[in-house]
């Protein structure tokens, strides 16, 4: 069953067409990679899917809600994490979870229970009173991801979640993504690491505001006759 449904989405800024008739859907529990060169229109589309921006035209449904009329409902049902927007360095780990749990409107008991559960999964219970700013970047990224799913959203949007992270932590991060998806949370992810695109069940590649390719990594490689998604990406983006 699709959790995201997009039909002929168009977004214009003046005469500039940032999203040009996008049509795609994402299934519940799927890990969906959203790729494209800088300026291809990924951020614009993600903002619309998160209910932060309205389309110029087209039909967009996220977690069962319409983006034009029910964007506030969408915001409650999604989680968002990016390298840029993360947690508060001068709050402790525990306080960060309390704060964001509160923002999502969870009752105090549930925040406590989810915090304990998520910290346990990362093996970071003993760090809960540490200031976030004192922790290594890799831990912060994993904590930011956990906070983004504290309210058990239908979908979590990850905008370059592993940028700048060391190669071992980057791989641990993907194991957490797999685990999350296996619990039924849909993962919608952008990345500049092309090997990570291969960890997705399906990937779409945008160029000049359009989706020019959308399939499983294996099918894309077969179609473009390449050994890796990186080569597919280069073939598409260079045209």
């Amino acid at each position: 069953m699709p959790i995201i449904e997009v039909e002929n989405l168009v977004k214009k800024f003046g005469s500039f067409i940032a999203n040009d008739h996008l049509t795609f859907s994402v299934d519940e529990g799927e890990i969906f990679g959203f790729l494209g060169a800088n300026g291809a229109g990924k951020t614009t589309a993600m903002k619309i899917l998160c209910g932060l921006s309205s389309p110029t035209s087209g039909k967009v449904n996220v977690a069962g809600f319409d983006v034009y009329r029910q964007s506030e409902m969408i915001k409650k049902r999604i989680g968002y994490m990016s390298q840029r927007f993360s947690l508060f360095d001068d709050l402790s780990v525990w306080e960060n979870f309390q704060f964001f749990g509160g923002i999502y409107g969870l009752p105090a008991a549930q925040i406590r229970q989810r915090t304990t559960e998520l910290l346990g999964r990362l093996g970071l219970e003993s760090e809960k009173n540490q200031l976030l700013g004192s922790l290594p970047l890799g831990w912060k990224q994993k904590l930011a991801f956990s906070v983004a799913i504290i309210h058990k959203p239908s979908i979590v949007f990850l905008d370059e979640p592993t940028g700048g992270v060391d190669p071992i932590t980057r791989r641990q991060f993907w194991e957490i993504i797999y685990e999350t998806a296996s619990q039924g949370i849909t993962v919608f992810v952008t990345t500049h690491y092309m090997d990570e695109a291969e960890y997705c069940q399906r990937v779409s590649i945008m160029a000049d505001g359009k989706i020019v390719a959308l399939d499983t990594p294996a099918n894309l490689k077969a179609k473009y006759n390449t050994a890796s998604i990186e080569e597919v990406f280069l073939k598409i983006a260079r045209n």
């Binding site: 494209g36 800088n38 290594p136 700048g164 992270v165 190669p167 500049h192 280069l234």
Partner: protein, 307 residues
């Protein structure tokens, strides 16, 4: 000191409070080299570059660039350096051309005088020379920043994470520009968190937690891996990873795209053993082949060793 040495760093340590940003870093870079510092955020790359460019003083240790000490001779040093910081730091409300003219002017020169050096790069953004820098796309900003760092014909070019957050195509284009620039004989040092960019450099230093783990040519680093490495695939990658980690003979197993790179204990199993045990675990479409390690394989191996 030999006259072929461009940058020499000896036992550099830098503390922020009680955090060691740089921990006894020593290296030597030859004139005309394209040298890469490769490591994740927090490895100490930016701190090191700020010390090399005289914007920060080292805690202990010293660095000379073209024979000039970064602390004592900083005024002379700055004239021969071109520096592109990690964050876009041009004037957003000046046009493309105004930015270039401004940076040339600071160094008492003009864009016309050194045009040859930047021509290849600047000509790509010249059609937009009257556009404000803040209105450029990411790739064009990058080209302008590189032009501005080069316009005074520096002897050493310092590029702090020029490709971070940049898409795969623009990254390749940027490295192609550097390869051309290198032919002019300028010494170039680059930092990057992308391990695959190491192969573009003459030599690289792999950095982690303020330390240089190894300095060598990309090939030299690959040779230092010293283990047999296998690329293994099957239909269910996630389960395959879990199963390979349970293998008694496995030293490490890391996912790389659709493959898992598996390093085995010396002479523990053959390729045929491996395939038959994976079959018995119910895996389908199994592929096993011996591969050369990538820089990323080496980086992870060294991270594990240093733990």
């Amino acid at each position: 000191m030999s006259d072929t040495v461009s940058i020499q760093a000896q036992h550099i340590t830098k503390l922020y409070g009680d955090k060691r940003a740089l921990d006894d870093v020593t290296f030597e870079i030859t004139k005309g080299e394209l040298f890469g510092f490769i490591g994740p955020d927090g490895a100490g790359k930016t701190t090191l570059f700020r010390i090399i460019t005289s914007l920060l003083k080292p805690g202990t240790g010293s660095i000379t660039v073209e024979g000039l000490d970064t602390v004592k001779d900083y005024t002379r040093l700055r004239k021969i350096l071109g520096y592109m910081p990690g964050r876009f730091s041009l004037y957003q409300d000046l046009t493309v051309e105004e930015n270039l003219r401004f940076f040339a002017g600071i160094f008492h020169t003009t864009p016309e005088e050194n045009y040859e050096l930047v021509k290849d790069i600047y000509s790509q953004i010249e059609p937009f020379k009257n556009r404000k820098a803040g209105k450029l796309s990411g790739g064009m900003k990058q080209k302008l920043a590189l032009s501005c760092a080069l316009i005074h014909k520096p002897e050493v070019l310092v590029l702090d994470e020029p490709t971070t957050g940049v898409d795969a195509v623009s990254r390749i284009e940027f490295w192609e520009m550097l390869a051309k620039l290198r032919l002019s004989g300028i010494t170039i040092i680059v930092s990057t968190p992308y391990m695959d960019e190491a192969s573009r450099c003459d030599r690289v230093a792999l950095m982690q937690n303020g330390k240089i783990m190894i300095t060598d040519t990309p090939d030299g680093i690959r040779k230092s891996f010293g283990q047999e490495l296998w690329a293994v695939r099957a239909d269910d990658t996630y389960r395959l990873l879990a199963d390979l980690r349970q293998f008694k003979a496995a030293r490490s197993a890391f996912p790389f795209g659709e493959y898992i790179h598996l390093s085995l204990k010396e002479g523990a199993v053959t390729q045929a053993d491996l395939i038959s045990s994976l079959k018995s675990m119910g895996h389908a479409n199994i592929g096993v082949s011996k591969i050369e390690p990538s820089i990323e394989d080496c980086f992870m191996e060294m991270m594990k060793k240093s733990e």
